[in-house]
């Protein structure tokens, strides 16, 4: 599987991750899931409702998810994934990420070191929910 990100969307998410630092940011990947894989059409920011420990946790209000999905469907699109940031940690899913993740969605993680995004990778949870696999993501590379 691949996901086509595109430089403009990557930069939009990257800005969000850097603005939110030292907290985690989160948001939706809106797009289409076609035969050749997923394509991001737009990025929708979400509020991190974890005000107890926003530096290492994110939680999206289900109502915000519902609204994002309604809007996406009205536009003929879908939520195809979630992005979030790992302040001062690598761009790989944590055990906590895995326990709370869904198969199907692409999980793009931005590693933010001292306020600057240094790495970004996309991950897919396998059907058994046991493990994440890295997904090829076009246009996600951080130079």
């Amino acid at each position: 599987m691949t996901i086509e990100v595109g430089a403009a969307h990557r930069d939009e998410m990257r800005r969000h991750a850097e603005e939110a630092y030292p907290h985690e940011c989160c948001g939706f990947l809106v797009g289409v899931n076609g035969e050749k894989g997923k394509t991001i059409r737009s990025i929708r920011r979400a509020a991190n409702t974890r005000d107890d420990s926003p530096q290492n946790r994110y939680l999206i209000d289900p109502l915000e998810f519902l609204k994002a999905e309604r809007q996406a469907r009205a536009d003929g699109l879908d939520i195809i994934g979630i992005y979030h940031s790992h302040p001062d940690h690598p761009a790989r899913p944590s055990e906590f990420d895995r326990e709370h993740a869904w198969p199907y969605y692409s999980y793009i993680i931005f590693s933010v070191e001292r306020g600057n995004v240094v790495d970004a990778r996309s991950w897919l949870l396998d059907e058994s929910r046991a493990a994440f696999t890295e997904e090829a993501a076009e246009g996600l590379e951080i130079q």
Partner: protein, 491 residues
């Protein structure tokens, strides 16, 4: 008809439909009708006991059904029931107790590379996303020191070296003894008499020649502990005595290192990770050592040979997790394994703000005298005084002369079963006070145990009860076997 709205993640189970109309007067009835039509959905929405999974929310229009009447919430024709995935995640900071350690801050390029042989050797690690090439390189960059190569140290050294820890330090000064072999599986029968470090090093070299070994053939003391432990990332405590445990704990707190703790006795074992930077230390759990002699050692009380394997492997697992920065470390938790009942319990451990070494206002700023702290008597004060002692040869000579002499064996019945001195009478130390009636006052008594320590305590008890004709058999049955009768089995 009410409508069920399906998130894109689950559309694969509804033939691609994002919305489905179903019959149902309540949310529960509508969901039942829905999973009946799409049976594959059931396992995604409900767990095995039929409860809604924790990562699934059900919304009726814009309200969480849990804030309405849950599955009893009534539905009308135009209502929308949405399956909403819970979206959460984040970094496991608690699982990264080493985030201050060099390799986690290093860019990937500064971790050591894996050669082809290593890639093959560690392939089952490499294909797991939690480890991967990056994780294996962290293991290779890491250094771990094991205090002791005995019951706990044996499985630790075997598994940590197999797992590819780059540098392993071992501290031990003992030699391999026959009584070690039933549990210290890194030592073989042919190694009896060899220094434990040499024996362990030979096995590790066979298991994984990539490991760099540091052999510290010494007793860990307050004088040398800081220098020995300082170069390592993780300290693993595989010792069996209280002075060393407090010593290792305090040194780790002072050095800012995680201390992976384990202890064993008979069928029970405990393990935890003490990292004072993120949780309690050993002193938070046990501020004071028990009085000397109250908690028997494995040499006195015995241990199931397999138990140190269980606990040592828990410790090794925790060390690997700490290095990889994955999972939930045993910080602030004490794992308690009862092998007889085969039950594992978990106790929460809290950091003590008044802890003298890791609390808010610590009073211990350097290592202290741990023998004294644990109330271990020095050799001068330990003995009864020579007028109370008798050697095995003297006892034998007196028996041969036909003196009236009674040997009282104060060991436990299990030890009596292994071997005994002919003519001795068994009165186990714990029962001594209640069985004085069986102990004659009109003959010379020789008190005997395995090595002379418990019988000295028995002598004191009898002396306090008014007995006067008392002697303690120096060196116990072990010395008897060495000096008088080799047919008496040692253990």
């Amino acid at each position: 008809m009410p409508k069920i709205v399906i998130p894109s993640a689950l559309k694969g189970f509804t033939g691609g439909h994002g919305e489905v109309n179903v019959e149902g007067a309540t949310v529960g009835a509508a969901l039942d009708a829905f999973v009946e039509r799409f049976p594959d959905m059931r396992k995604h929405l409900y767990d095995d006991s039929g409860r809604l999974r924790h990562f699934v929310n059900i919304y009726v229009n814009d309200a969480d059904m849990r804030e309405l009447q849950k599955t009893e919430t009534p539905l009308n024709e135009t209502d929308e029931v949405s399956i909403v995935p819970a979206i959460a995640g984040g970094v496991d900071t608690a699982a990264d107790p080493l985030s201050g350690q060099p390799w986690l801050n290093n860019r990937l390029s500064s971790l050591p590379e894996l050669n082809q042989e290593e890639k093959l050797r560690y392939s089952r690690h490499l294909i797991m996303p939690e480890v991967g090439v990056e994780g294996q390189r962290k293991l290779k960059a890491a250094s771990v020191i094991c205090i002791g190569t005995g019951g706990l140290g044996a499985p630790l050294a075997l598994y940590l070296s197999a797992a590819g820890i780059g540098r392993i330090g071992l501290v031990d000064y003992d030699v391999v003894d026959f009584t070690n072999l039933h549990r210290q599986v890194i030592h073989f029968t042919g190694d009896v008499g060899k220094p434990k470090l040499q024996s362990a090093a030979e096995k590790i070299e066979q298991i994984n020649p990539n490991v760099t070994l540091d052999l510290h053939e010494t007793v860990l003391t307050s004088e040398n502990a800081m220098d020995i432990l300082r170069p390592y990332d993780i300290v693993i405590d595989g010792t069996d005595n209280f002075p060393t445990r407090y010593l290792v704990n305090d040194a780790c707190v002072l050095l800012g290192k995680p201390n992976v703790y384990g202890s064993i006795f008979r069928f029970e074992g405990m393990a935890s990770v003490f990292d004072a930077r993120r949780g309690p230390c050993y002193r938070c759990m046990f501020p004071e050592p028990p009085p000397p002699g109250m908690v028997p050692s494995c040499a006195e009380g015995g241990v199931l040979g397999i138990l140190p394997g269980l606990i040592g492997v828990v410790q090794a697992t925790e060390a690997i997790k700490l290095i990889l920065g994955i999972g939930d470390p045993l910080i602030g938790r004490l794992l308690w394994i009862d092998a007889l009942k085969m039950r594992i319990r978990e106790l929460k451990l809290a950091k003590d703000p008044d802890c003298p070494v890791c609390g808010v206002n610590p009073t211990i700023h350097e290592l202290i005298d741990y023998q004294q702290f644990c109330g271990i008597p020095t050799h001068q004060e330990e003995g009864l005084g020579s007028e109370w002692e008798i050697t095995p040869r003297e006892v034998k000579a007196r028996l041969d002369r036909g003196d009236r002499l009674q040997i009282i064996d104060v060991r436990n019945p299990e030890e009596w079963e292994i071997s005994r001195i002919e003519g001795a009478r068994l009165v186990p130390l714990p029962q001594l006070a209640d069985r004085l009636g069986e102990i004659p006052r009109d003959v010379d008594l020789v008190l005997q145990c395995k090595s002379g320590v418990r019988s000295a305590r028995a002598l004191e008890q009898l002396r306090d009860a008014g007995y006067t004709r008392l002697k303690n058999l120096q060196g116990g049955i072990l010395a008897w076997s060495d000096e008088v009768d080799p047919s008496v089995a040692k253990y």
